[in-house]
């Protein structure tokens, strides 16, 4: 059954295109695949997704990228979580960490014991029991240790980076491994009249490019998946009303945080992502609720550094393709769907698509069973992220703008409504293996946005209240003491992955 190499063409060279290219040339052998990427320098990459999730490290490891090298070349910093300010209610602040809250004891999950103590007069901030949150609050960073008994093993980390530098980095990496890049634009997509498969692409130069497999990384336009194959887009704007963003970089801030910050505003939310040389900022908003001018002035009035450019506008629509893999075309990245960067899921969703494409790697004739399985997995991932994002908007008591009132009153998916009801009633969080966001993530958002549970699992009554409270105090102290022994985030980045001095000039305060 050994066959000729599969001919693959990737259309579009943003983060999705270059991640796909790097994975294909990094993991598959030239006897298995020949990869060509077509992109145009005239078409700018979106590149607002500058914060990532810990899963990205698996991707980098898989294709063989050295972390410190990658961090140096992308001005990267570390990320332990996201701080949410003014979500839920004004004046609130919580961190959604990459890590656990406390430990199970006597078969009882931490937060049930915490709830029992709280309902019995021992109120405490749940953040104090999360190593990653406390480290974030103190701007500290170090790598987690392996010993599962150690308190500083209970977290994970990701990166903030310049996504366009990451794409360039992957481009260099891929081209060094034999990837053929073609500068140019696609003029026409030709379908096979009988099978409906994509047969070839015609470039503006007149060249015709044939291939076995076409990967659409062309972004929102969906050059193949949308324009040629007419795969419908399922619109989720009624749940996630934001549809525009303005992005602006500022000078590096004194506050060099190992976390992303998301601040809720009247018409959406503002992001703040510290990089080594500058800070990335932006305002994600709903054009139905505020104007572009209002958004721009709000953004520019709320920066903690000097702006380095004019705000750059981006337009989008939340939702996903009903089918990401149709015939011999696989849409990856924004061509397959979009969810706002509130939980830094964009690169993760791209990664999931790539990894599963590799697991289901087709032969020249695509077996529909492979595509079905791919679509099932991708759909599940999108649905899980969608519900988690809606939760942030829906659970609020803000009365200062129509957006927040709308989100509080809107109909939400049944899957989310049931989840919220069980959490509120008894702190129950279902565990699932497939799809993003484990129980600590849900816990942090529920509690952080003012929905601490009214009950707890009855097994928490098996322990005496004194034992529970004593354990809470001990855990809190252990976390605090160990975090104080960590290096500061800025020192750590400087020692581990500082960019070369020449390129760091712009970062000087």
């Amino acid at each position: 059954m050994t066959s000729a190499p599969l001919r693959v063409v990737i259309v579009g060279g943003g983060t999705a295109g270059w991640m796909t290219a790097a994975a294909l040339v990094g993991i598959l052998k030239p006897e298995e695949v020949s990869v060509r990427l077509i992109e145009s320098d005239e078409i700018g990459a979106i590149g607002v997704g500058e914060a990532t999730l810990p899963q990205m490290r698996e991707f980098n490891d898989l294709i063989g990228i050295v972390e410190s090298d990658m961090m140096r070349k992308t001005n990267a910093t570390f990320k332990l979580g996201i701080e949410f300010r003014d979500w839920g209610f004004k004046g609130s602040s919580y961190v959604h960490p990459f890590g656990a809250f406390g430990k199970a004891m006597g078969g009882v999950t931490f937060h049930h014991r915490w709830t029992r103590a709280r309902l019995n007069g021992f109120a405490s901030n749940i953040e104090d029991y999360s190593y990653a949150v406390v480290a974030s609050r103190r701007n500290r960073f170090d790598f987690p240790v392996k010993d599962p008994e150690a308190i500083n093993s209970t977290y994970d980390y990701a990166y903030h980076f310049d996504a366009s530098l990451y794409a360039s980095y992957l481009r260099g990496w891929s081209e060094a491994r034999g990837l053929l890049r073609t500068e140019g634009k696609v003029r026409q997509v030709a379908l096979d009249p009988e099978s409906g498969d994509v047969a070839s692409l015609v470039l503006e130069t007149g060249e015709t490019v044939t291939a076995d497999l076409f990967i659409d990384c062309s972004g929102f336009r969906g050059l193949i998946i949308d324009q040629a194959l007419k795969v419908p887009f399922e619109d989720w704007t009624h749940w996630l009303p934001c549809d525009r963003a303005l992005a602006v970089p500022t000078t590096r801030s004194e506050d060099f945080s190992p976390y992303t910050r998301s601040t809720a505003r009247e018409g959406g939310w503002q992001w703040r992502i510290p990089l080594q040389h500058r800070t990335g900022n932006g305002y994600v908003y709903s054009s139905a609720f505020i104007s572009d001018d209002e958004a721009a002035s709000t953004l520019m009035a709320n920066l903690d550094g000097e702006p380095l450019a004019e705000p750059r506008p981006v337009r989008f629509r939340s939702g996903r393709r009903t089918t990401s893999w149709r015939k011999n075309c696989i849409a990856i990245g924004l061509a397959s769907g979009f969810l706002e960067p509130l939980e830094s899921t964009s690169i993760y969703l791209t990664q999931v698509a790539i990894i599963n494409l590799l697991k289901l790697w087709p032969r020249a004739q695509v077996d529909p069973a492979l595509a079905s399985e791919f679509n099932r997995i991708v759909d599940n991932e999108y649905d899980k992220v969608r519900d988690f994002l809606i939760l942030h908007y829906h659970v609020n008591t803000r009365d200062d703008s129509d957006l927040w009132r709308h989100c509080r009153e809107m109909e939400i998916p049944d899957s989310l409504r049931e989840k919220m009801a069980l959490f509120e009633h008894r702190g129950h969080i279902a565990l699932y293996q497939h799809g993003l966001f484990s129980p600590p993530s849900w816990l942090s958002v529920f509690v952080g946005q003012g929905r601490a549970p009214k009950g707890y699992h009855p097994m928490a009554d098996n322990l005496s209240l004194d034992v529970i409270i004593e354990d809470l105090k001990t855990t809190r102290q252990r976390v605090s003491d160990r975090v104080d022994a960590m290096p500061m985030h800025d020192e750590f980045v400087r020692d581990y992955a500082a960019v070369a001095p020449a390129s760091a000039v712009g970062a000087a305060p």
Partner: protein, 494 residues
């Protein structure tokens, strides 16, 4: 110390494993909080011939119940087994073993099955199962658990064949020791208020009240029948409607697997115990009468039966288990034929969910919806695992089996089969009782050979691949040699 409005009392109405496992589980999990657990014990439906074949995961429930292997096996003439042998399900291919391997064997991150598919196409004659530690160990009569309860290091798990009467007696004894109270009586009335049960009335006119009721009465479903949800029958999917329980002499030496052999009207299972062999038949009454089946049992099994045979009617399906303040556990909630050692698993799944979602308020139980949905997802995957045997049978020309092959297949199973046929990959869901290696063993065993394999397999040269195969076979043989024989540990002489 129970939270205000919490559950203070549970009454289990029922019999046999479902009732006593429910009572003991709840007593162990919540007894210290002051929860009172009592059982209205209906007359047992078990007879001396009955056996339970249980999946390895039963050990997880036993751990929660404070039960060890030595105690369980000792009280039940029990024998651990490493898998089940499916014979005669497909005419043209040999019997296969579904063993409980814990690890997926791979080469460079690629599952071994892909290498095997390629090698087979190139002429390899060694069966897939001969590369799997569990099935080789099972065929050679080995065990991972010894008679002292010591568990060996081999990455395979053992299921349990248990004498049903002895098992129920053990669980009942432990429940009573743990503080569960018992009323031996029949339920003659139910005091319902809307969808809630206030009390059950026993035959001597006692009102037994509780905050929560467990219906563990078996197919009778005395508390649940006719309540909120209808029983969703799977008669259309499965042909079997008769079950027989019988017993024969012990097998010498003791095998390390149960045997599930297909015959023209269904299947016959042999379950080795220390002092006898449990015999179960499941078949379609349209194809064969009870008498004919009983007369043919000795010829089909090659064993002479001892004692009574009992035949019962059977209908597969499930109903929403939790309605109001009553949770149906075991066969009162879900009925599947005893194929693939799933009987106690269905009870175990319900109890695990019930412990996770044990209500916190006697007044409002919003847990019901999540419980029912979660249990159904698990059960449907178990059902599909069973159904795959029927769907993929190869007994062409026999009415029962031809119907089984062409009967409608749920879309989830159809997609799993298609994906495996295309690429040797098992679609994975959150609510699985059977791991991918079990699905793989079953699919391949029934002759579903993938038409393509992971392209990364082609990176390894044929010589290198053969060397790896030899080394894998050598390692399996070596690991098996290090395991004790099940007969030496649990046989008559042990």
């Amino acid at each position: 110390m129970t939270a205000v409005g919490g559950i203070r009392s549970v009454v289990v109405v029922g019999r046999d494993a479902a009732a006593w496992l429910s009572a003991l589980t709840l007593q162990r999990a919540f007894g210290r909080t002051g929860l009172k657990v009592s059982v209205v014990a209906m007359p047992s439906l078990l007879q001396a011939t009955d056996v339970y074949a249980a999946l390895p995961s039963l050990a997880g429930l036993h751990a929660l119940l404070g039960l060890g292997d030595v105690e369980v096996l000792g009280a039940t003439s029990g024998v651990p087994f490493l898998g089940q042998r499916f014979a005669d399900w497909n005419r043209d291919i040999p019997a296969f073993l579904h063993a409980y391997d814990m690890l997926r064997v791979g080469i460079d991150d690629v599952d071994f099955v892909h290498f095997w598919v390629k090698a087979r196409a190139e002429g390899l004659k060694v069966a897939y199962e001969d590369f799997a530690l569990g099935s080789v160990a099972a065929k050679q009569g080995r065990t991972v658990i010894d008679r002292n309860g010591f568990v060996g290091e081999a990455p395979i798990e053992a299921g349990y064949t248990l004498d049903a009467v002895g098992y129920v007696a053990l669980i009942r004894r432990r429940a009573i020791q743990a503080g569960v109270s018992v009323v031996e009586d029949a339920v003659i009335g139910i005091d319902r208020h809307g969808d809630r049960i206030a009390a059950v009335i026993t035959s001597d006119d006692q009102r037994v009240e509780a905050d929560l009721f467990i219906d563990a009465s078996g197919a009778e479903a005395v508390l649940s029948r006719g309540q909120s949800g209808v029983f969703d029958s799977w008669r259309e999917l499965f042909g079997v409607d008769r079950l027989l329980s019988a017993s024969a002499k012990a097998l010498r030496p003791l095998p390390a697997f149960s045997q599930i052999a297909a015959f023209e009207a269904g299947w016959i299972g042999l379950y080795p115990l220390k002092d006898r062999t449990g015999v179960v038949a499941a078949w379609d009454s349209r194809e064969m009468s009870d008498d004919t089946l009983i007369n043919r049992l000795s010829t089909e099994t090659g064993l002479s039966l001892e004692g009574e045979c009992r035949v019962t009617g059977f209908e597969p399906g499930m109903r929403p288990a939790w309605s109001g303040n009553c949770v149906a556990v075991g066969e009162a909630a879900v009925a599947l034929e005893p194929l693939d050692a799933v009987q106690l698993q269905l009870t175990h799944l319900g109890l695990s969910q019930l412990v996770a979602l044990f209500p916190v308020s006697a007044e409002a139980m919003p847990e019901a919806q999540a419980y029912n949905a979660g249990l159904a997802a698990f059960v449907l995957n178990v059902r599909d695992f069973q159904l795959a045997h029927y769907r993929l049978n190869g007994r062409v020309g026999e009415g029962f089996w031809d119907r089984a092959r062409s009967a409608p297949v749920p879309t989830g199973l159809e997609a799993r089969i298609r994906l495996f046929a295309a690429r040797g990959k098992i679609a994975q869901f959150d609510e699985e009782s059977f791991q991918p290696q079990s699905w793989t063993a079953s699919f391949l065993g029934h002759g579903l050979i993938p038409s393509s394999y992971d392209p990364r397999v082609d990176r390894i040269s044929p010589e290198d691949q053969m060397a790896r195969f030899r080394s894998l076979l050598g390692k399996v043989a070596e690991d098996v040699r290090a395991m004790p024989s099940v007969d030496s540990q649990f046989g008559a002489g042990a």
